[in-house]
């Protein structure tokens, strides 16, 4: 039976791990490769690096991180942040990423997803969707770290990029991110029901019951969290044991 994945996400800026509360007030939480190794040993199912200050100038830092991580961690690694072109995807895959995540670039030009999926396969193309609630049962995509509204409906966009070839959706609730009040479950459920590819729930995890709800109510295939793991509130093992106790199939190592 396929297991539900727990994915620690490392927000990276200038080669260091940070985690923002609502994307501001960054706190330094360590060296990415060291953290990746610790998560590998702890039984994380995948890892995600998000380059939150991605610029053309600091691209090399991320390639170097991908390479060093892939040398030491034999588990799947997704990298996102500032990915704009098919060439960016290629460079990250060559550096050591297993999957690459588009965000703003897919909103600006959904066809970039199709071009990348045609070239490298859907299995390595993730589209990250940052959504905010605009009215009950309505969610709009925001780009540029949640600052820029787009007027695009998140559920419709998820369907579109899936048709274009996205192999996975990384869905972040901008209302919840950093609040520790739990995933936006109606949003997660609406997107999971709308697409036939795995959905990773993200944004708002504060306790282990939140992880359970993301799967049982939100129907997510995987759950992503940052702070609760980075700052040692819970271990990966505790999270997996808790989810397994709630009846969710987990890979217990």
């Amino acid at each position: 039976m396929l297991k539900t994945r727990i994915i620690p996400c490392l927000d990276v800026a200038d080669g260091r791990v940070v985690k923002g509360v609502n994307f501001v007030d960054l706190i330094d939480a360590g060296d990415p490769v060291e953290q990746a190794r610790a998560y590998d040993a702890a039984g994380a199912d995948e890892l995600c690096f998000l380059d939150i200050h991605a610029t053309h100038e600091n691209r090399g830092t991320m390639y170097d991180l991908a390479t060093r991580t892939a040398e030491q961690c034999f588990m799947p690694l997704t990298i996102g942040g500032g990915v704009r072109t098919v060439e960016d995807v290629r460079n990250l895959l060559l550096a050591g990423a297993d999957k690459v995540s588009f965000n703003s670039a897919a909103v600006a030009d959904p066809d970039v997803v199709a071009r990348a999926a045609d070239k490298f396969g859907s299995q390595c193309i993730v589209v990250a969707i940052d959504a905010k609630t605009v009215s009950p049962g309505k969610w709009e995509i925001f780009t540029h770290g949640g600052r820029k509204p787009t007027g695009i409906d998140a559920v419709e966009f998820a369907k579109l990029v899936t048709q274009k070839g996205a192999g996975e959706i990384l869905l972040t609730s901008m209302d919840r991110d950093g609040t520790k009040s739990g995933f936006n479950l109606p949003l997660t459920r609406a997107v999971s029901d709308a697409v036939n590819v795995p959905v990773i729930a993200s944004g708002g995890v504060g306790n282990l019951d939140h992880l359970v709800e993301g799967v049982t109510i939100g129907k997510a295939s995987a759950v992503l969290a940052a702070s609760i793991f980075h700052f040692g509130t819970y271990t990966i093992g505790e999270a997996k044991a808790h989810m397994a106790k709630a009846g969710i199939p987990m890979r217990l190592t």
Partner: protein, 212 residues
């Protein structure tokens, strides 16, 4: 003693290279080289064929490099060099692939590559993540890997066996999904051993030590 990982512009070889290098170092099994040169394949003592993406694209990628496919076929079928196919590299062992179009495989393992069709509509395709293996038959490359061991899968197509005797392991995803196939000096894994932590590294070490 050289193990070659064949690079035919089909996905990320970095992590596979690192995983094979690490296990070759630990087991004293010589060098690991990423190459697309037919002469390197001809001189290799083991051949690994990775592969990400669509079956027809991978097949064309292989054919696009002059003499490469011939060198693989010669080494594997004439000289019985140990061969490991990973993901689409495994699927190429089959008779035919049916992804977008029908394309012939090597035909070394009696099977067809077809879309996964889970009997539970809640199960999504691609089959992505960790699934537990059910070992169907013992095999030297599976030494120490038992039923219940987890492996990392990312795929939408799998091998439907014409000859079930060639299936070494499967997993359950709304029905049986072929996980490992083997026949004579050839073996293939649908999952990514280089991404499968303990069980994956074990399988790689076993392959490097295998003398079929």
């Amino acid at each position: 003693m050289t193990t070659v990982l064949i690079d035919y512009d089909s996905g990320n070889l970095h992590s596979a290279e690192k995983a094979f290098q690490r296990m070759a170092h630990e087991t004293g099994q010589g060098a690991v080289r990423v190459t697309n040169r037919p002469e390197d394949v001809a001189a290799a003592s083991r051949i690994v064929l990775p592969g990400d993406g669509a079956f027809p694209a991978c097949r064309r990628g292989l054919a696009a490099i002059d003499g490469l496919e011939e060198a693989i076929v010669e080494a594997v079928t004439k000289r019985a060099i140990p061969f490991l196919g990973i993901c689409v590299g495994m699927q190429m062992l089959a008779n035919e692939g049916h992804e977008y179009e029908t394309v012939a495989g090597f035909g070394w393992v009696a099977a067809d590559v077809r879309k996964i069709t889970p009997n539970d509509l809640a199960l999504k395709v691609p089959h992505m993540g960790w699934n537990d293996l059910v070992i169907d038959q013992p095999h030297p490359v599976l030494e120490g890997i038992i039923t219940g061991a987890h492996a990392y899968f990312v795929h939408s197509y799998h091998m439907e066996m014409r000859d079930p005797a060639h299936r070494l392991a499967h997993c359950d995803y709304g029905g049986d999904v072929t996980a490992i196939v083997g026949h004579a000096n050839m073996i293939g894994t649908q999952f990514h051993p280089e991404k499968s932590q303990e069980a994956g590294l074990r399988l790689i070490a076993n392959f490097l030590d295998w003398a079929p």
